[in-house]
Symmetry: C2
Subunit: 376 residues, 2 copies
């Protein structure tokens, strides 16, 4: 019997209850496929922070770094200002473990309703690979007031005037700025991952950028995309401006196979992707470091107002569990879990309110676990 140890961070709001259903399903898969998971519970989230002042300490990071995959519920609490938990826990872990791939399957499961006219399951089946450690997520920025000394700002103004040849207001009352950065290594590795993935799927890789306007950063992205592509002659490629991509997701999702995107645009287009695959209740995400510690989560938030009501939809989290177990090497178990989710939806018997049913969160978990045993 293979033994895995998996840290679990239930987090805030509905996080703990949905992740519990994910654990239930993974345990069932273990029974069928011959593995056993030792779950290690971590208390991090809003309550823990408000009680102890700890978001995620260095010791916790060190401890977590000993495992291949973390299971995360959801983070976010109305008592805290926007950004505190997101940056202090979620982004902190993504960066600390150098989880440079954010993997988001956009797949319309059979039986799920998409908001798009005339599209059926086979039309929406692609994967977005979002770069996950660079770009505008590096958290560099600031403010400057009139007359206040700020080196960065000075350089910036010089550049600004130089580029536009215009006399800009150097005496603005106050400004705020933000810097994004991508590195050669950081861009190469996400491109390699994406080309590899495309080569395993349908040999079509689409890159997202806005090289016509944010030319410095995304010109570099585009170049690297082309460079790495030389090693994959069989993969067909195209560039797409991010604005156009949002249109094609809606108009022509069949076009896509694998999509590689910088971090911030990836955040935006994967939420749109979640919507076309039937909504956030069905969208899982993996934060992956192929040689280190990865982390799996539903891409929806913590929905504080449903906390403890046992009514949230656990399917995205269960699907994230499938991605997790696949990373641990249990591909068959992962495939079976996705099939069980699909069966649960097609049966139309045990579904949560958002899917038009009246079942509880825990009942859906139990049903998917049952189906895993049946199908496995």
């Amino acid at each position: 019997m293979t033994q895995y140890k998996v840290p679990v961070i239930g987090g805030d709001g509905i996080g703990p209850e949905i992740v519990r259903e994910g654990q239930k399903v993974l345990d069932a898969a273990g029974e069928v496929f011959g593995f056993d998971i030792d779950w290690l519970e971590f208390p991090h989230g809003a309550d823990h922070y408000l009680e102890t002042g700890e978001l995620v300490s260095d010791e916790t990071i060190k401890e977590l770094s000993g495992y291949k995959a973390i299971y995360l519920g959801a983070l976010g609490d109305p008592r805290l200002a926007p950004g505190i938990l997101e940056k202090g826990i979620l982004l902190k872990l993504r960066f600390a473990f150098d989880e440079y791939i954010n993997l988001r399957p956009i797949k319309l499961l059979d039986g799920v309703e998409t908001p798009l006219k005339g599209k059926v399951a086979k039309d929406i089946d692609f994967v977005v690979v979002r770069e996950n450690t660079e770009d505008f997520y590096i958290g560099i920025g600031g403010r400057a007031k009139k007359g206040q000394k700020n080196d960065l700002l000075e350089v910036q103004r010089d550049l600004y005037s130089a580029k536009f040849g215009l006399d800009i207001e150097t005496d603005s009352e106050e400004i705020a700025y933000q810097i994004g950065m991508i590195s050669k290594e950081g861009t190469k590795r996400v491109m390699e991952y994406s080309y590899d993935l495309a080569a395993k799927r349908n040999n079509h890789l689409s890159s997202v950028d806005k090289a016509n306007v944010l030319s410095d950063i995304y010109g570099f992205w585009r170049e690297t995309f082309e460079e790495v592509g030389k090693g994959y002659p069989s993969v067909e490629t195209d560039f797409n401006y991010v604005d156009a991509v949002t249109m094609w997701f809606v108009k022509n999702p069949e076009f896509f196979d694998v999509v590689v995107t910088p971090n911030m645009f990836g955040d935006i287009i994967t939420d749109l992707g979640a919507m076309i695959q039937g909504g956030l209740g069905l969208a899982p995400g993996g934060n992956i470091n192929p040689t280190g510690t990865s982390m799996f989560e539903p891409i929806h938030g913590s929905a504080p107002k449903y906390k403890g009501m046992d009514r949230a939809n656990p399917l995205a989290t269960i699907w994230a569990g499938a991605l997790l177990i696949e990373t641990l090497g249990e591909k068959e178990a992962a495939d079976t879990i996705v099939k069980a989710i699909e069966k649960n939806i097609l049966d139309k018997k045990v579904n949560t309110v958002d899917m038009g049913g009246s079942a509880k969160c825990s009942e859906v978990g139990t049903d998917v676990a049952r189906l895993v045993k049946k199908l496995g």
Copy 2:
């Protein structure tokens, strides 16, 4: 008879032919509503650049600055690298004339098919106000190689290490960076415009940001949104993360009345908005300086492969013409043009191929001109 002088830049690809139809319709409106437009043709675009080396010269800008509204077809040519014409002409003019409002009505006209299930004309009727002169569009960025001296980069690296408390690769092979900036004045004025517009419509203003991650720049945006809002107690407001906004546009467009957004996010969500209102063939945009020179355009591109074929859909451009004439003070003419567009679509007789018809671009222009005279 009121006399207007309007500079026209047909531009590239289908630009000249669609703008010609717009002129035809505006001339017809003039006959009915008692004004006359003197069209001043400008040759700018790819051909002109390739022949003369001029994108837009300072003299041209000076000349154009004498008018209240410019009519623009489309820019973009496959012979030139991405960014050349966009930055050298389109963005140059937006910045030079300080056209700080990019106004984009997202309105599903009667008779137009939206790709969204179950949505009808009355469900999709809002306006996006995109800030148009700041944010990540200011064109500041660069690259740096290992060992190469670069002041901006040094500051940036210090900041990076300081914020994350991590040891980052200071010896990256090469990096590329991009800087966005917003100013107090620049943010205030777009907020004031948006609150005013909401007060004239349904008193609901939604702001778009990503303050939980790009906190420096969009925390400032959010604060300013709240500050300015104090002067508009009757306008109901909400904040929305840009990722969530893309979902709501698809799931629940009824929610929106006026949406105010930073430049880059605005670029993305207005293309999505164009799609839900029936596609780019139907989406106009105005680049507005309320006290200076404004510029009106369809938001689609130059579609080089259809150049000169007289088959492009001119409706977005004609609608942009309605926005133009409204800016010149001819509100009744503007409303009549929009009604004529709607009638042309409902009639289902004279429509271009993209709308399921077989009419030529010029025939659609003629039909809308006829309808303007009939309805006016």
